[in-house]
Structures are given as C-alpha cells and as structure tokens.
C-alpha cells in the first residue's frame, strides 16, 4: 500500500475514532433523523444502539477504549424522559464515577462525554458529534501504557 501512495499526497492526518452508545428511544432516532435530513457531520463516530443509556455497563466503555476508541460518547434521554423511568439517572451516576476514575488514571476529560439528546434533536446530535470529534482530534490518538 505504501508503495502505491502518490508522493504529493500529504501525510495522513489523525482521524479520531469515537464510539457512541445511543439509546434506542431517543438519540438513535435523532441520529436517524439527522441522516434522513442529510445533515453533514463528522464520519468519525460509530453508533452502537442500546435499549437504554442505563444498559451501558462501564465495562462497555473501557472495552471501547481498549479496542482502539479515542473517545466514547454516551447518549440518553433527557432527565424525566427515560422510557424505563430511571435508566438515564443510572447512566448519569455511572458516568460521573467512571469519569472520576478515568481522570485518576490520566485520561483527558474530553475522551468521555455524556449528552442527553431527544428523538427530535437531530441538530443537537450533529453538533455534539462535530464538537466531540474536534476536541478528540486536538487530544490526538489515545495510547495506552502497554509496558515492556
């Protein structure tokens, strides 16, 4: 592949890989609506649909980072809007504690983000993805200490 590269092509820039866990009842629909509306946003985000933000085990987030994500985005229903009444609050609590843990381990703040995005907020989804992609791009790739 390297041999085929044209000499005048600039060195490939870092493209962040972001994994987004999105709730089936809100953000997934918003993302779908953004697509239907042909909204343009950074293609760096990989969506994983879950039935609720409360379904997102912190192990999912850690595994995403382990497998090469540079950032992880968690999206759920606004407070008081959870389809299952309290899943988003559980997500908020897990996120708060996980964030504290990751910070202690030396992860930058912008690598993990939580957003409430309702089914009608396609524009918010677009903005969040754009913004997060740029923030993670500035941080650069996540490299873990593999040791020797």
């Amino acid at each position: 592949m390297m041999a085929m590269a044209k000499p005048d092509v600039p060195k490939q820039e870092f493209e962040p890989r972001i994994v987004a866990f999105v709730c089936n009842w809100c953000t997934y629909i918003a993302a779908d609506a953004a697509g239907v509306a042909r909204a343009r946003y950074a293609p760096n985000v990989r969506l994983i649909r879950t039935m609720c933000s409360g379904r997102v085990d912190p192990q999912f987030v850690l595994t995403a980072f382990e497998k090469g994500a540079d950032g992880v985005l968690l999206c759920g229903c606004h407070p008081r809007d959870c389809h299952y009444s309290a899943g988003n609050y559980k997500a908020l609590r897990r996120y708060t504690l996980l964030k504290k843990l990751l910070s202690q381990m030396g992860f930058e703040d912008d690598r993990l983000r939580l957003e409430w995005i309702s089914a009608s907020e396609a524009e918010k989804f677009r903005k969040v993805v754009e913004d997060m992609t740029e923030r993670v791009r500035k941080l650069g790739p996540l490299e873990l200490n593999g040791g020797d």
């Binding site: 192990q59 987030v61 980072f65 609590r93 708060t96 381990m105 200490n145």
Partner: protein, 326 residues
C-alpha cells in the same frame, strides 16, 4: 513406598502475608509436610535456584506462586518454575490479579524512579543515583534485576492452571486446594479455587439487608461507627461484597469491616472496578448531578477503591506519558 509429590512455593512482588497464610495452616501444615516433599521455599527452607534447575522438567507436582511480577528476576523464576511444574497455582490476590503492588500501574518506571530517587522529601541521595542494572566495581560486576514499566499478574507472564484468591487465601481454601491436588480431584483448568457466587450470598448479614437497598451517602469506614449486626451497605459503608467472589465466608464483614474485593470478580465479570462503579451507581439514591457529585466526594480514590487488588487485570491501563507522582 511411592515417592511423595514435590511442591514448591515462591514469592514475587508481595508483602509476605501469603507465606504467613501457609504457616497459618497451623498443625495442618504437618499433614501437608507429611504428604508432600517441599523442594523449594525461599522464605523457609534453604534450597537454591540451582537445586530447582537440576530437577527434571515437569517433576514438581505443583508450584504455589504468590506476588505480582514486577522485576526481570521474578519473570525468570516463574518461567523456571513453570517449566519444572505440572501445575502452577497463582496464590493470593497479587498473583491472581496484580494485587496492591499493581496499583503502581497508575505510574510507570520513569515516574516511579523520578519520585523515589529524586523528588520525594525523604530522599537524601547526594549524587541523585538511581539503581543500575549493572555496575562495575573493583571486585567485578554487580547486577540488579530490571524494573519493569508495569506490574503484571502471574498469568500475564506464564500459563497458570489454578488461582487461589485472597489477601491472603484462607487456611480452609488452601487446605481444600492441597487436598484436591493430592487426590487428583481438580476442577477444569483455569478455575478459581473459591466460591462462584458473590460474597453477599454467604454473608451472615445478608438477611438484615433491606428489600430495596438505596443509599444517600457513602461513609468512609474509618470515620464511621459501624453496627456489626447490620448489612454494612445499608449503613452507607462501601462494601464490595456484591461484586466480589465469595469463598472467604465474609471474614472482614464478621470483623465489622467492609469487603474490599480481594477475591476478585466472579467468573462472569471481566473488570472488577467497572462492575463496582456500576453497582454503586445503581443504589445511590440521587438523580441530580450536584447531589451525585457531592456523595462521590467521599470516594477520593476510585482506582484504589474499586481496583484495590485488580488494576493489572483491569481492561484499561493508564494512557502513555509521564504522570506526576505527587
């Protein structure tokens, strides 16, 4: 008379408590000694490394290895014992999951040396010397083992057959493991020789747990007068029983101290810390961000709380780059 099975004990990065645990078998140790031939046990018997090297490969029935692996010498020793042994048993939390020494993985070799040999207030180290792996002196060359960037659990270095969890493993579990070995009644390879369910199932205080357990605050145990007759979690003391493998018979809880997770996660869980975060978040009875943050202020050290014995086996390691030690 048939030859007695050969057994070896070795310690790597550990505190010596696991060696104590063997001695804690009390008079039971006499039965063990009667049944096996101990061929290597640096803490108690005067065998040397060449004695182990001289044994035929696979001739040791079982090696019990405690401690995490942090130095090149420890790697060499566990590789040697692996070659000489039929079974290798990771003995204790450090060997099983990395243990307390594994918390050093919040830093790396550079930042650890920087702190301990240059910056720590107690350093009186005129020439700012760091330990060297080789030093020439008039009498010849002196060598020290290499210090790794990360601390590893035993199975990150060699193949491990069984795990005896605990800080340290209880005499009962050690006895059971030795008996299983002697009788040849071993579970499938890779098994953790303790309970399979969470500790709460065997905790005597489980029946005092309310139907729906919700807490409004997280109390730090050294600042709390604990009621020893009541589920510690229901008193707001952070007990890791729900996310820790059972088998210890709730020794700490019986002593009015919360479980800190030394038996590691259950078989279904890969990352003990993540599961700890998940469970605590589920029972915290607040929905407002400010309240949640306030309660979590009482967990000033989440890594040391939820990964106290398991950081090297966590899904994530710290990101690359030097982190300040202070």
């Amino acid at each position: 008379m048939a030859q007695k099975p050969k057994v070896a004990f070795y310690w790597c990065a550990s505190c010596g408590g696991c060696e104590e645990a063997v001695v804690d078998l009390a008079e039971g140790i006499l039965d063990v000694v009667a049944a096996v031939d101990i061929v290597f046990w640096p803490v108690a018997l005067d065998f040397k490394v060449p004695d182990v090297e001289a044994l035929p490969d696979g001739s040791i029935a079982a090696s019990f290895i405690n401690g995490a692996v942090r130095l090149s010498e420890q790697e060499d020793m566990v590789r040697l014992l692996r070659r000489k042994s039929k079974y290798v048993i990771a003995f204790g939390s450090c060997s099983h999951l990395g243990g307390i020494p594994g918390l050093a993985n919040l830093w790396d070799r550079r930042s650890i040396f920087e702190w301990y040999y240059h910056k720590a207030p107690s350093v009186a180290n005129g020439g700012a010397q760091e330990p060297q792996e080789r030093v020439e002196v008039p009498e010849g060359t002196l060598e020290l083992p290499a210090f790794w960037d990360v601390v590893k659990a035993l199975d990150e270095v060699i193949d491990v057959d069984y795990y005896l969890p605990g800080c340290p493993p209880t005499p009962k579990l050690i006895g059971n493991a030795v008996n299983a070995l002697l009788k040849g009644e071993l579970p499938p390879k890779g098994a953790v020789l303790a309970g399979t369910r969470a500790l709460c199932h065997e905790c005597p205080l489980n029946e005092t747990k309310p139907e729906k357990l919700l807490i409004k605050e997280v109390k730090r145990v050294h600042l709390t007068k604990v009621d020893p007759e009541k589920c510690l979690l229901s008193q707001g003391v952070l007990c890791l029983g729900p996310v820790t493998r059972g088998g210890c018979e709730a020794l700490c809880v019986k002593g009015a101290m919360p479980c800190t997770g030394c038996f590691g996660p259950t078989d279904e869980v890969r990352d003990q810390g993540a599961k700890g975060i998940s469970y605590l978040s589920s029972i915290l009875d607040f929905d407002e961000e400010a309240d949640i943050r306030r309660v979590m202020e009482n967990i000033p050290d989440p890594v040391g709380t939820f990964y106290r014995y398991a950081l090297p086996r966590a899904i994530l390691t710290k990101p690359k780059g030097v982190k300040s030690h202070a």
